[in-house]
Amino acid sequence: MPQPLNYLKETVSQTAGPYVHIGLIPAMAGFDIFEKNFSNVLVTPNTKGERITLEGRVIDGSGTVLRDVLLEIWQANAAGRYNHPADRSAGALDEDFRGWGRAGSDFESGLVTFETIKPGAIVDRAGRKCAPHVNIWIVARGINIGLNTRLYFSDEEAANAADPVLNLVEPPVRRNTLIATRSERAGKAVYSFAINLQGPDETVFFDV
């Protein structure tokens, strides 16, 4: 027998279940308990950057929209800098932007929305420039381990074409599953997305 390595093993995932709102968004469960709550609004009036709405749905293998799903997003600020010490890039921090939010899908429409800013391009630790993107984590009843995916922006064609992660996706047609479509609504940019859990347009999910 070789010497034991003595690493601990990661605690395994379990589904968030149908009542995930109780713990993470209690107002959606139907009650008010905490003085301070987390939300789908990532911006304050002082946050720098272009205000955008992210708006999408998560769809199961029968084509049905999930109405009990919870998404979290994590993104860089308008200068392309994450609010975390492990980001050593040169972009300026924005003290009015944590870069994280969570949202439950609407119980009727299944719509998930975030009010945020468009992130800047990111320089990764290998010095490569990465297209602006938002990192997404998805949990729900029936999802045994949180799903990781990303959203890129339809108006960043050149940056997307050079992005080192998008370029890993094969076949290339699947890269489109990660791109949110820009439109304008009442003068504000809205990026629409669909996350397909299965089927011919299955979204690319990452083992990060």
């Binding site: 093993k9 990661e10 279940g17 995930v20 009843r141």
Partner: protein
């Protein structure tokens, strides 16, 4: 030689390791111990499980980083489920303390990380607009709370022991008593939701959700033992639940995969 003199000891055995943040990539997740996305015994997973292989990414700055939280995000009663929704008295049920450490795979405590928890009441009923189980709502119990780990990764909270409840999977499926946990860690790739179960619960081996876990040791590590030493006499029993997040390298490897 003085037999009474203490032997020379490595002083590091007594001193806690100072926590220096690491910012390399995370250890590869061992997906063989996690429940698979598609687990037909848990029927809800069938239509909600991706069928294409996941695309494996080396940790980039987008995964090594993650949100930070502080005491400003929390309220003073957030870790006391006996008090944080009490209207005209304490909630019904067995009073318990749940405590433990959030560690990483190298055994280091994960400091200042947000832990959130939610559960059914003592009768197995959730305070949720979609829960219609016949057991009554407890007017004094909300069923959720949160805590920040201290600088050694330790957390604790007080609650009542949740009850088991039936659910629609097979005609007679029951969830063992459990508390849901959400944990962050320092990087978004450590994000984890899991459930804590209670030592001795006879529903554990027959639960269709627990039996999705392919590794017996991994399942056992979701079961919190009774911890009499941490109980409060004439007040509350205690259960101990340690949570392990993915480990992290101290050095970032600036690999450039072929073609990039």
């Amino acid at each position: 030689m003085n037999a009474q003199a203490p032997a020379l000891r490595d002083p590091r055995l007594n001193a806690p390791e100072p926590f220096t943040p690491r910012d390399g990539g995370f250890f590869q997740r061992d997906r063989a111990i996690h429940p698979p996305a598609y687990a037909p015994g848990y029927k809800s997973s069938v239509l909600r499980s991706p069928r294409q292989p996941l695309l494996s990414l080396e940790s980039s700055v987008s995964e090594i980083t993650g949100p930070a939280f502080g005491h400003n995000d929390l309220g003073p009663l957030d870790n006391d489920l006996i008090r944080n929704y009490a209207k005209d008295g304490d909630p019904v049920g067995e009073r318990i303390i749940v405590h433990g450490r959030v560690l990483d795979e190298t055994g280091r405590g994960v400091p200042n990380t947000l832990v959130e928890f939610w559960q059914a009441n003592a009768g197995g009923r959730y305070r949720h607009r979609k829960d219609t189980y016949l057991a009554p709502i407890d007017p004094n119990f909300g069923g959720c709370g949160r805590a920040l780990t201290d600088d050694t990764g330790y957390y604790y909270f007080r609650t009542v022991k949740p009850g088991p409840y039936p659910w629609r999977n097979f005609v007679n499926s029951w969830r063992p008593a459990h508390i849901h946990f959400s944990v962050f860690g320092s990087g978004f790739a450590q994000r984890l939701i899991t459930q804590m179960y209670f030592e001795g619960d006879p529903l554990i081996p027959v639960c269709p959700i627990l039996t999705t876990i392919p590794d017996k040791g991994a399942l056992d590590r979701l079961v919190a033992p009774l911890d009499l030493n941490a109980s409060t006499p004439f007040d509350s029993l205690a259960y101990r639940f340690d949570i392990v997040l993915r480990g992290q390298r101290s050095t970032y490897f600036e690999n450039r995969p072929e073609g990039n």
